[in-house]
């Protein structure tokens, strides 16, 4: 469904993504783990068209989307839940959700959008209770739910999430991840989840990639990665002694 081929991205002179290649199949949940500053958000923003790629290709169902504008990419069915939620704080919860369906207004029946709004409220009942509240006044967990709900309002085929667990309590994290896994299982949404919390990400994902300073270091199915000694040491904090270095 999505395939990155030898992707290189720069911020000015800084080379952030170095020859990245990866692929995501339809219906899969894939995770990308890596330390701070590895370039994970940069990769997602390249996919979403926020950051331009210098060379390489981003193939989405066979077409190169690397030069498309962010709004066209959303129209193709790729939606991002950005790092740090990035809500429209002075707008209401409902307005945030409706703006998620911005590309659909004028093209589709309003009833369809209303139906999806109800679906999101069913997924996150807490948002329904707070639909008139300003997004900026929500708690961290509720904000994450709203960010996810907003991204779902455009009916994405591929949903990419940037550190959904950031700053949340363990209970909320597993709640969020259960919801993410449910999207894959019931709605057949393809998912690409960036995480620092490798344990929970690998628990729910089918496959994973490990990224370090702009390069993909490892890839494999989740169970193998969880058992990988280097992953255990660097991301699960198990063995303190370095295995290879």
């Amino acid at each position: 469904m999505l395939r990155l081929q030898n992707l290189n991205t720069y911020y000015g002179e800084i080379h952030v993504l170095k020859n990245i290649s990866l692929h995501i199949q339809e219906g899969e949940m894939v995770t990308l783990i890596g330390a701070n500053g590895a370039g994970k958000s940069t990769m997602l923003n390249s996919i979403s068209g926020i950051v331009g790629a210098k060379s390489g290709a981003i193939l989405y169902n066979g077409t190169d989307i690397s030069n498309m504008s962010p709004d066209r990419i959303v129209q193709q069915g790729i939606s991002q839940v950005p790092e740090g939620r990035q809500l429209f704080a002075p707008l209401s919860v409902e307005d945030n959700l409706r703006l998620g369906a911005y590309t659909r207004y004028g093209k589709e029946n309003k009833k369809e959008i209303q139906k999806d709004l109800e679906t999101v409220y069913a997924l996150f009942p807490r948002l329904k209770e707070r639909e008139r509240q300003y997004a900026g006044t929500l708690s961290g967990g509720e904000q994450q739910m709203l960010a996810m709900g907003r991204a779902l309002m455009c009916r994405p085929k591929l949903l990419i999430l940037d550190e959904p667990s950031m700053g949340l309590a363990p209970l909320i994290i597993s709640e969020i991840f259960k919801t993410i896994a449910r999207l894959r299982d019931t709605q057949k949404t393809t998912l690409f989840v960036v995480e620092q919390n490798a344990r929970v990400a690998l628990k729910y994902a089918d496959r994973g990639y490990v990224m370090e300073t702009g390069k993909i270091m490892l890839e494999g199915n989740s169970r193998d990665l969880l058992e990988n000694k280097e992953v255990q040491r660097a991301y699960l904090g198990k063995q303190k002694k370095p295995i290879w270095e």
């Binding site: 979403s48 068209g49 926020i50 504008s69 962010p70 709004d71 959303v74 129209q75 939606s79 991002q80 950005p82 990035q86 809500l87 429209f88 704080a89 002075p90 707008l91 307005d95 409706r98 703006l99 998620g100 911005y102 590309t103 207004y105 907003r150 991204a151 309002m153 455009c154």
Partner: protein
């Protein structure tokens, strides 16, 4: 004339001119919110509104309502073209460059107006005649009431637009978080285009209702832009209600200053208020100080 009737008189004069400042201030804010820049060509849209209206009614001899619609349409298109030709082609422009471009734009608009309509002043007939209305000993021109009504209509329409339409909400979304706005599929460049068109349209309306009260000439834009800018800053940049209140306040203070002190100080008053506010409360009367720290300009 008694003192109380004088006060009423100055008050109405102030509200009239203040309404115009408010409209210019609103135009500043709309563009500021979507781009973070101060469009110094804002006053030229008012001048163009007046000039095009004069041209359509006196030279082309169109009836008033038709000329009104056409004028607003023409100036709106000019605003949109200005964005597409001068702002849009820039990749990653700095705030300073954008400001210089809008200044250049204002010079070009002014020069073109001079070439087309000459250096002489122009005027328009009042909408409902010039028979003054007596009110508490003061005489008020019907045009004053028209100007206040037009401001009220603009404010109402903008409130409906920004709170109840999807495009209006998208514009607000762009102003709070452009990156997130593009991630939900809003074409941010198109919103910028729209904000220039909208500001130009509002400027044109201001020019049309204002011209009968004064004499419109090619170089009137700069002073209007300055006063509108004072209104926008005083109200807290980006704050629509603030701009309206501050615009009216500046107009009223100016009118009282001119009446009770000397008309020579009139233009200085707005700048003096601006300076005092910038020293005491840089975020403006209605601005939030935390937000102003994050602003680039």
């Amino acid at each position: 004339m008694t003192l109380s009737s004088q006060i009423v008189q100055f008050l109405f004069t102030g509200i009239t001119i203040g309404s115009i400042y408010a409209m210019v201030g609103l135009g500043f804010n709309i563009i500021y919110n979507s781009t973070g820049i101060i469009n110094f060509a804002q006053g030229e849209f008012v001048m163009l509104g007046g000039m095009v209206m004069v041209w359509l009614t006196t030279m082309v001899n169109l009836p008033m309502p038709l000329a009104f619609i056409l004028t607003v349409a023409i100036v709106t298109v000019i605003g949109a073209l200005f964005e597409r030709l001068a702002i849009y082609p820039l990749k990653k422009p700095s705030v300073l460059i954008l400001i210089i471009i809008t200044l250049a734009g204002s010079i070009i608009f002014k020069g073109s107006a001079m070439l087309i309509w000459g250096k002489e002043t122009h005027t328009l007939p009042h909408i409902s005649g010039e028979e003054p209305i007596e009110f508490m000993g003061a005489t008020i021109l019907p045009q004053t009431l028209w100007i206040i009504a037009v401001l009220a209509v603009i404010v109402t329409l903008l409130a409906v637009f920004f709170n109840f339409t999807m495009v209006g909400k998208a514009m607000r979304a762009c102003s709070v978080n452009p990156t997130a706005a593009s991630l939900v599929g809003i074409n941010v460049r198109r919103i910028v285009l729209l904000s220039f068109a909208l500001s130009a349209g509002i400027g044109a309306v201001a020019g049309i209702v204002f011209t009968p009260m004064v004499l419109m000439e090619y170089d009137r834009g700069a002073m209007l832009a300055l006063k509108g800018f004072c209104a926008a800053v005083l109200g807290g940049l980006g704050n629509g209600v603030g701009a309206v209140v501050a615009g009216l306040l500046i107009g009223i203070l100016e009118s009282f200053g001119a009446g009770f002190i000397s008309s020579g100080y009139k233009d200085g008053i707005a700048l003096l208020i601006l300076l005092i506010v910038l020293i005491i409360k840089p975020s403006g009367l209605f601005g939030v100080s935390e937000a102003s720290k994050l602003k680039e300009f």
